[in-house]
């Protein structure tokens, strides 16, 4: 079916932050854009200063920075001045505990006020912040704490008992674990009394624009997870892209539904709205359709940044559900996580009165790279066009599916509609600057002056980009990028499992679901009992990234080098002819 482009009324075009896309792209310059930030007196730059202190010291001191809705719908607010004071206290506490500039401070928290205090306070102290996904099982948590050399972790009492207590002794660098709230446990003291006792005096450390700030782990197709390292200068990209791709302004009430353990939850769930001086809404509760409409309504959300899986779950309810709520404050909706199907874009227009603006970026890019804009036509199903200041290109692919490099050169695709690997020209401020302790993998992410994203797309004659699929075996499930290797490694630790191959099985709601095919060691029978045992085994170790389905397969296909061929497993799952793998991606 051919989807009609969605145009924008003149009134909306005239009010948008980005009114003339073409002219802005031509004139845009990242150095000039720095004028939107305050910077530090000595020429330094610190994310927490841009997000909190500069507002707390000025006219927005008493403006609400954080509006937190707890599970029982009780609302707690923190103004910019209050947030500045609490983050000062946390930065001072870190110093008292002997945590220094450059040390890694981790969070394993849901959406609670301490999350914002810890992340921003640690940035004030010059520490590198690494937020973890609270639905991870103990194994991904342990691995990421070890890989990044965590010095201090802040988590909740429940998460501590479930995921940290039994593994903390396996992280030799971890000196302190603090528990959010007023109640500690053994050698994990409570954060709240420590904050109360520490100094509220201004405590910002001067950091340089290229000092390390954020460490986001992302899984790979092989090997251990990679820690993508971002610097304080990334805040410029957070600020600019929020203005252009989310149409965000200082008087907005902004709700980003992403989990704080993923990059979206930091770049846009914490930093970007605060740099604009807006009010950030944070909801502790889980997804539930009535609950989400209630948050939009009662909190008067004006700009909403969510994910395709959530939108598709809302779509499962009758359209009448939205009618019971007052969504009149809402003026802009955006989505990220996996490609947004055209039906969801159009559903937004029909049901909420606003189309959904899909955009594209990833952990390594740190900020939105391609998006649909407030004043521009939406082509349903397209991720949009590059954000001003971002140069994107498509590269012809080689036999392995990734960009073809011959004699050190890549080969851009120029014809409209032709597929290629999405690549970005380095130079945007939120580009990752390293994979933690892994210079080789970092170097291999670039070729001939381009960052290679691993996503395949095509570009139409008007410059709109359309997602085609992954160039590798990574799985996009419910907004999370799941690495098959990490899942396979855990399954292989079970005594019954000889080999495992993990794929993304297409799913109408989540995009893809993690599915594992396993072959068994001699002496183990493929029983239902064993299948359930493996499901439980995977969940215990991996949490939310565990396989949702496990199938026994005594004949796992192999490459010549003996590795399990995930692409062939996927072809079998989709019922495609196994000889024709080229059609695989067209099914997405």
């Amino acid at each position: 079916m051919q989807w009609q482009p969605i145009g924008k009324p003149a009134s909306i075009r005239a009010a948008a932050n980005l009114r003339d896309y073409t002219a802005t792209c031509r004139a845009f310059d990242w150095t000039a854009a720095r004028a939107a930030l305050s910077g530090l007196p000595d020429g330094g730059l610190n994310i927490a200063h841009e997000a909190v202190d500069r507002h707390a010291e000025g006219a927005r001191a008493d403006h609400v920075a954080l509006r937190w809705v707890d599970r029982t719908d009780t609302v707690t607010e923190l103004t910019y001045a209050e947030l500045a004071e609490r983050t000062n206290r946390f930065a001072a506490l870190l110093r008292e505990l002997g945590i220094h500039r450059g040390d890694r401070v981790y969070t394993l928290l849901g959406r609670v006020p301490d999350l914002y205090v810890v992340v921003l306070g640690a940035l004030k102290a010059g520490c590198v912040v690494s937020p973890l996904f609270s639905a991870f099982g103990p194994e991904p948590v342990r691995q990421r704490l070890v890989l990044g050399g965590a010095s201090l972790l802040v988590t909740s009492p429940a998460l501590y008992r479930r995921k940290v207590r039994d593994i903390r002794h396996q992280v030799p660098t971890l000196r302190h674990v603090l528990l959010s709230g007023a109640t500690g446990e053994g050698d994990a003291p409570a954060l709240e009394p420590m904050l109360t006792a520490s100094s509220p005096a201004p405590s910002l450390v001067s950091t340089a624009p290229d000092d390390a700030a954020l460490l986001h782990f992302t899984s790979g197709t092989t090997g251990t997870p990679k820690g993508a390292l971002h610097v304080h200068e990334a805040v410029l990209a957070h600020h600019v892209t929020a203005a252009y791709a989310l149409d965000l302004r200082a008087d907005d009430v902004f709700w980003c539904t992403a989990d704080p353990g993923w990059v979206t939850g930091t770049s846009y769930g914490i930093v970007a709205p605060l740099t604009h001086g807006a009010t950030l809404v944070s909801d502790e509760g889980d997804f539930e359709a009535h609950r989400w409409y209630r948050v939009l309504d009662r909190q008067g959300v004006t700009v909403w940044y969510t994910a395709p899986t959530a939108l598709r779950m809302l779509m499962r309810h009758g359209d009448g559900l939205a009618e019971g709520y007052d969504l009149s404050a809402l003026r802009f909706i955006a989505s990220v996580g996996e490609p947004l199907n055209p039906e969801a874009v159009v559903w937004g227009q029909a049901t909420l009165g606003l189309p959904v603006h899909d955009n594209w970026w990833q952990t390594e890019t740190g900020a939105i790279m391609i998006g649909n804009f407030a004043a521009e036509e939406i082509r349903p199903g397209s991720m949009g066009r590059p954000v001003p200041g971002v140069e994107v290109c498509l590269l012809r692919r080689g036999a392995e599916g990734r960009a073809l490099v011959t004699g050190g050169r890549v080969h851009p695709v120029t014809a409209a509609g032709e597929e290629g690997e999405l690549a970005i020209r380095p130079g945007w401020p939120s580009m990752f600057r390293a994979y933690w302790n892994d210079p080789e993998r970092y170097a291999s992410a670039f070729a001939d002056g381009w960052y290679l994203s691993g996503d395949v797309a095509r570009r139409d004659a008007d410059g709109y980009y359309w997602f085609v699929g992954r160039a590798d075996d990574m799985i996009k499930s419910a907004g999370h990028l799941v690495g098959p290797f990490e899942v396979e490694s855990v399954l292989l630790a079970h005594p019954a499992v000889a080999e495992a191959g993990v794929i993304g099985k297409p799913d109408p709601v989540a995009g893809e679901l993690v599915k594992a095919f396993v072959s068994l060691r001699p002496g183990h029978a493929a029983t239902e009992e064993l299948r359930l045992e493996l499901l439980a085994f995977g969940r215990r170790a991996l949490g939310a990234v565990a396989p949702k389905e496990i199938e026994f397969d005594p004949d796992l296909p192999h490459t010549r080098s003996g590795k399990v061929m995930r692409r062939l497993l996927k072809a079998r799952e989709l019922g495609l002819p196994e000889g024709d793998l080229s059609t695989l991606e067209a099914t997405r």
Partner: protein, 85 residues
């Protein structure tokens, strides 16, 4: 489909079986009857949808999206299944 209302015992069994299909090693005896199931068992949104599907298949009861808030705890699930359509 109109099903006979369940007895509380049958309803509880159906809920437990559906949950064990998602979290096979769940220690359901440790879950309080009024505890939020998603939090207690760490069910994500996809797990919850799978739970609803299993419950609907096993009981023959139509479960509409608007019924989801009634499936938050063991007790509320039992209440929902024993009320009839």
């Amino acid at each position: 489909m109109t099903a006979e209302p369940f007895t509380p015992d049958r309803a509880r069994d159906a809920v437990r079986t559906a949950l064990l299909g998602i979290v096979p090693d769940a220690e359901l005896d440790d879950v309080r009857p009024d505890e939020n199931l998603r939090q207690a068992l760490e069910l994500d949104s996809m797990d919850f949808l799978a739970f609803v599907r299993r419950l609907a298949d096993a009981t023959g009861k139509e479960i509409d999206e608007d019924d989801y808030p009634r499936l938050e705890t063991l007790d509320s699930c039992v209440g929902f299944l024993t009320t009839g359509n």
